[in-house]
Structure formats: C-alpha cells, structure tokens
Symmetry: C2
Subunit: 468 residues, 2 copies
Amino acid sequence: MVKYQLSLFIFLFCSVISTSICAKEPVDILIINGRVLTMDDQLNEYSCGVVAIKGNRIVAIGPQSMAQRYQAQTTLDVDGDIVMPGLINAHTHASMSLFRSLGDDVANRLHNYIFPLEKAFVSREMVYKGARLGNLEMLKGGVTTYADMYYFEEEVAKAVDEMGLRAVLGQSIIKYPQADAKTPKDAIELTEQFIKKYKGHPRITPAFAPHGPYTNSTDDLKTVARLSLEYDVPVLTHLAESKKEQNVIAKRSGGLSPIAYLESIGALNEKLVGAHVILAGEQDIALLKKHQVGVAHNMSANIKSAKGVSPVVEMLKQHVDVGLGTDGPMSGNTLSLIDEFNQVAKVHKLWHQDRSLMPAIDVIKMATIGSARALNLAKEIGSLELGKRADIIVISTKSPNMTPIYNPYSALVYSANATDVQHSIVDGRLLMKNRNVLTADEKEIIDQATAFSQEIKQSLLQQGKSIL
Amino acid sequence: MVKYQLSLFIFLFCSVISTSICAKEPVDILIINGRVLTMDDQLNEYSCGVVAIKGNRIVAIGPQSMAQRYQAQTTLDVDGDIVMPGLINAHTHASMSLFRSLGDDVANRLHNYIFPLEKAFVSREMVYKGARLGNLEMLKGGVTTYADMYYFEEEVAKAVDEMGLRAVLGQSIIKYPQADAKTPKDAIELTEQFIKKYKGHPRITPAFAPHGPYTNSTDDLKTVARLSLEYDVPVLTHLAESKKEQNVIAKRSGGLSPIAYLESIGALNEKLVGAHVILAGEQDIALLKKHQVGVAHNMSANIKSAKGVSPVVEMLKQHVDVGLGTDGPMSGNTLSLIDEFNQVAKVHKLWHQDRSLMPAIDVIKMATIGSARALNLAKEIGSLELGKRADIIVISTKSPNMTPIYNPYSALVYSANATDVQHSIVDGRLLMKNRNVLTADEKEIIDQATAFSQEIKQSLLQQGKSIL
C-alpha cells in the first residue's frame, strides 16, 4: 500500500512538473534550424535559430534550443537556410510589368514609348493584370512589401490584398490628363476616396503620389503636403531625378534645386518619400535629414537611364533614411530587389574608386530596415524583432551559386538570385512554400499577362514601331 | 477482282510515295517549337523553329515545318522557349568557387586574402572540387564553354571532361612559387605536358596562362609566345588590368603601356586572349585589332574591384573580338554570365551618359559569337549554324520575370536570371534537362564543397581573420 501510494505520489508529482515545465506555448508557425539574420539595431544573428509566429506577429526569436517551448500548427525546418526580414521594395510601378523591356535601349524613351503606351493602354484591367504579374514576381523574389505609384491604384490594392502582400500604394497626381483623372484636382479627390477606403487596412497603406515637382503645380504640391498631414499618410514622389526637372524647377523658383524648392513651399516633411534623388548636393542632403524625408534608391534604373549615381554613400553618412527600390519594369527591369543587390554595391565602389565602400551589410540594411524607415513603417516591419509583424523570407543556401557561404550578407548581395527564395511569410501568413505560391494561380497570371501583351504588340506594330 | 487489284495498286503506290516523300532522316536530338536565335552573321531568327542534332553537330535549323523531315531519338518540345547558342564564359578561375565571397569588401584583397588563401589551400584536391562546383554553377546557368586560368589545370580538365562541358584551360605561369610549380620554368614544362595530353580532345583546348605581363619576366613571356605558336594553342592572360601593372611595365619598358610592351617583345598575336583590358587607350586598341588579339570583358569584376570600365564600346567600334567573362568567384562573384548581362549594358550606358549605347543585342553577341571569336573557336561554336558543334541552351520564357517578351534579346539581358535556363546541350549531348543535371550528382558536389569550405573557415578564424 505504501509502495502504491509512493508510486501514485511520484506519478502525480511528475505530471505536475511536466505540465509546468513542458506545457508548450501554442504558435501558428515555427521556423526552426535557420541561419537567422534579424537586422535589428545590434544586427543580432543566430547561426542555428528559431522564429515563432502567432497571428500576424513575431512572438519569439532566438537559438534553436528555444524550439522545444513551442507547439506549432506549421513547422518549417529550413535546414540551415537564411531566415531574414522580407525585402521592402521602396519604389516601383508594378503594373508596368505588362510593358516590361519596351524601349530599353531607346534614347528618348519617355516620350517615344512610355507616354504613348500609357495613353493607349492604361485602364483598370491593365493596372490590375499588371499588378498581379508584378506581385507574383516580387513574392517569388522575396519582396514582402512594396511602395507603388500608378494610376487606378485601387486595382493595385485589390491585387495586393488578394495575394496577401503588404504595400504602400500611391494614387498618381500629374498635370497631364490621365485615364483615371482628367485634372490634378480630380486625381487628388480620387486619392482622398482611396485613402478613406484603405486607411486602417492591416497590410495596405494608401498614399498620395504626385508624379514629381516639375510635373505638378506649386499649388497642387502644397495641397498634397497639407492633406498628407491631415490624413496622416505618405507622399510618394519622383525627386531630383533628371536635369529636365532641375531646369524646370530652377526656372519656376528662381534657381532653387528641386529639394530646396519643396522646402520653400512647405512640402518637405517626414511623410515624403523621394524616389531616385540623384541630383542632390550637400545642402539638399542636409534638408532631407532635417525634414526626415525618406529616400528610395533605384540604382539599377538610374544607371540604365544613364542619369547618374545617387549620392547614397553621403546620405548614409548623414543618417538619411535610404531604402532600396527597383523602379518599374520598363526601367529596372526586374522587381525582385535581390537581383539588384550586387549592382548597388559594385557601382558605388566603381563611382568612388574604393572597393571597400558600400559593403554587403549596408545593402541588406537598405533593402530591409532602411526601406522600412524611409516608408515610416519601421515600427512594424524591416527587422525580425519581438512584437513586429511577421514578414519573413527564407533563402536557400544550397544552390551552386550560394555555395559555400562564409558571410551570409556577402552571399546575399553578391551571389544570390531571386529564385533562391524558398518561403515567404507576410503578416503571419505563409504565401509561398518551397517556391510554390499558395495565394495565387501562377499560370493564370502569366497567361493573362501574355495575352494582354499580344494586344500591345499588335498596336505597336500597327503604329510602325519596332519592338525594341 | 478489279476492285481488289485497284486497292492493291493504290496501297503499293502510296507506300512508295510515302517512303520517298516521308522517309524521315534519323537524328539524335530534335528541338521543336523554339524561339530560335541563331546569332549567325545575319542574326537569323525563327519565331517557331527547330534545330536538329546528329552526333555532335547541328544538321538542320529552320522553321517548325521542317520538323516532319526528322525522326529523332530524343525530341525536346520547348513550347516557345528561347533556343540559342550556349554561353561562352571567356575568363574565369572556376576552382576559386571554394573561396567565393571571401574578402568581398576588403581594400587590399589580393595580398590580404587571395594570395594567403592560395598559399594555404591550393592543392590537386581543392582545384578538382572547386572546378566541379564551378562547372555545376556554369552548366546550370547556361554556360557551355569557359576559359579558365588556374593551378593544377589538369584537375580542371578532369572535372570538365566528366561533366561534359567544353573549355579552354590554361595552366598558370607566374614568377612566384606555387603549389604545382616552383618556378615559371617548371610551370612552362607542366603546361607542355598538359598540352600534349589534351591536344585534339573534342571538348578541351589546352592553353598557356601566364598570369600577367607584370607577374612574369620578359624572357618567360617570349618563351610562352613562341611555344604557343609551335603548339598552336591559346595564351590566356590578365592584361591592362591595374595601375600597378601599368607602373611595373612602364618602368620595365621605358614607358610603354602593357599592350604596347607585349607587342614590343613579339608577344601580341592571334593566340593571345587578354582578360579585363581596362587601361587601354586608342593606340592600344589599334594594336589589339592589328594583331587580332581576343579580349575577355569582365564588367562585374572590374567594377566591384573599382578598377574602372573597360573601353569595350570603342573596341567594338574598331572590330576587336570581345567576349564576355565573369572572372573568378572571389571577383565576380557568380559564374553564370546571364546574371551579369544587365550590368554590362547598364554600366556602359552610365559611363558614357547615353542610354542607347550597348543595346541588348550587343551583350548577347559578346556572350556567344564574340567570346567564340576571342577564343579562336568561332568556326566550331558561338552560333547555331549548319555543321557547327551542337552547343545549345534553352531558356524559359515562362517565369514572371520573363513575362511578357517583346524583344527576346532585351528579355535575356535585362530580365533573365541563371535559373531560367532549362536545358543544356554540349557537343550534341544533353547535359541538363528541365534543370536536372544528367552528368553529375549535384548534391554530392555541393556537399563536398561545403565540407572543404569548413576547413578554410577554421583556418581563417585560427589566423584571427574575420570572414569578410
């Protein structure tokens, strides 16, 4: 009897102990055996680590030994692959994927190709189909958030929402009549409706997108700046991109640079995200810093257009928030960011004649936490930290180009390509697993885009334009 | 009876007709439904075409209607994908794949990383394992031929032969003692043995590889030039690459440029293939043309090292034979060429401030027939033409980044990445089908390379060197 009582006691004691020690916390997704690059302020890394996700948030991050604390609905054993924050494409025009590569090597591309193409083809249908193709390419290339400027931006929002990505979406405002708005006034009203519809969406941030300082009037730029503060939304714009812009603005403002001009009209503030920012001197950079303006660096597009190299090295020294963008597919031409990484590092080295400049880690920072800061989203995304949204990608370390790996940042910048991305999680939801997109029919998207491109091709040939 | 005889007559008549009209020519491989880019002198294309292969040669090429003439052992229906000549990597050091990305962002990389690494680790085993990894990456990235310079080049030859690739392999000759040869004299003897062993091989062209003009004596350079003509083999060398080289040669020659110096010692001829050729003026370019020297352009490595932009635009105007190379994986860093295409176009546009310069077609020419001419192999490879060796790749047009396609050359240069390559045929043999390598065990190669890299990593850490 004593023996029996002792056994019972031991049994009960152990049950209590095991319940208290071993009760596992339920989580939705548990990533294990990852080479975790957090991209937090200390650049913490776990050579073999775990990330736990509950709902749309990161609830744990640490060494592999932590794995046993969690009971997950879905466990991803990534077998040493790189686990990092999703990439943030800070500037693009996703729907232009349907025009991809048209006019690549043409001198006056804007007036010969882009404007006529947009006049002929921009429609709700085109914007939606193009956005779906762009979204697919970005998802498969590790982009989890992107900032977009285009027309019928509501269609982009629809495509983003369906695929499950995160985006900052700017409705375009420009002084020329467009398919979705005849005047800038109409475009501003359209933007206000768009903002009212999407403000508070868990993954979509609506925004104003004045095309550029030189393609909008001072009054319209002032109105946009005022409204952006009232609505508490970003303003996406092309800024200090071309000599033409520089000349127009200098004439309008009595010699000011585009950046100084925007300050003079009260349009420079923390809501503003300037894309390109190639023609910026020391004083311009100081203004960007002073007013906490975000910058989207688009190396690949800037050099293809022969416009120059943005002074990003100097901006980073002055602690301006610089993110990385691909620009649109008639400019970049891919949307995946990863394929652009090595150019960012290499061209800055070339430009400054110093191979130690723009090391790999700076490029990865720019594509993650840098873009998040530029877009004012760093509280929620851009790094793997407790409580942040779970926007996470896993990148294979097993392709020949990723073998061997000594420094993971170097491998990502100089060796990886878009297809090394294996899994993608946005807002706690697994959107791609083993390169299979779970939230869209890839073939349908590609077939629809191809069919649409046939119409464009026929039209160009009928106009006697060669398909350059 | 009459009816029966008539039927018999019709049957026999039709049999004879069908035998004479429809007797199909047996071929080994028939590629059908391809978007065929021949890269021949007229840049002939077939929007829907076929290529027939018998043994190691192309026996037919033309529109889809030709398909019915052939009875093939293997038919590849490529469903509209791009069919083109295999890419030719005109300059690399494949075995350095084991050192990939070490010292990427380090100022004095050559003396701090490369030389010490090579001193510690270059061995027969390292060269073989590294070459296998490099071969795998190239095969999967659409490279069917490459020109290599390294030590123990016989091991590279072994790896190339096993995987079925084509290569021009240069045994290194340099004034410093190396693992495979204590003196340049030893290295020259080693090269002669290598040449005797491989001369006449269907896929391997043995070559001399003096490291550079400044790292070899005048006497040794003269000896190599003389022997290359005697053996009728190429000479691969780094040429006009750095200011250090320029200074050493100017001092040695009384002020000559590296190219003018090589001419002065009788070492400039059609056997020579110069890699990099960054520091070349008008007179140098004229000398290259006069002596029919081949050039390997390595844009990606040249800009990463901040050495400058080679005057390739001028060379092409002067009809110098320029091919495209990746350089080694400590420099480039990938070996796939495709991932480098867009940089070649974009950086020349930037450098010359003209977005119409270096159009896509020029980049594709450089990577195919251009490299073939530079390596003196244009009679056999570099374009899809009757009677040429069957070195052919098929590139998918169905990935999101390759959708849509208006101009295939633009898509290849600005949008494709290495993993869009679907099939690869070298010397008439299918080496990769649907991205599965048929002539090697991919996992074994990657696992062996990874294991070897652990030794390198330990050694670097023991020396107190960070893994940069």
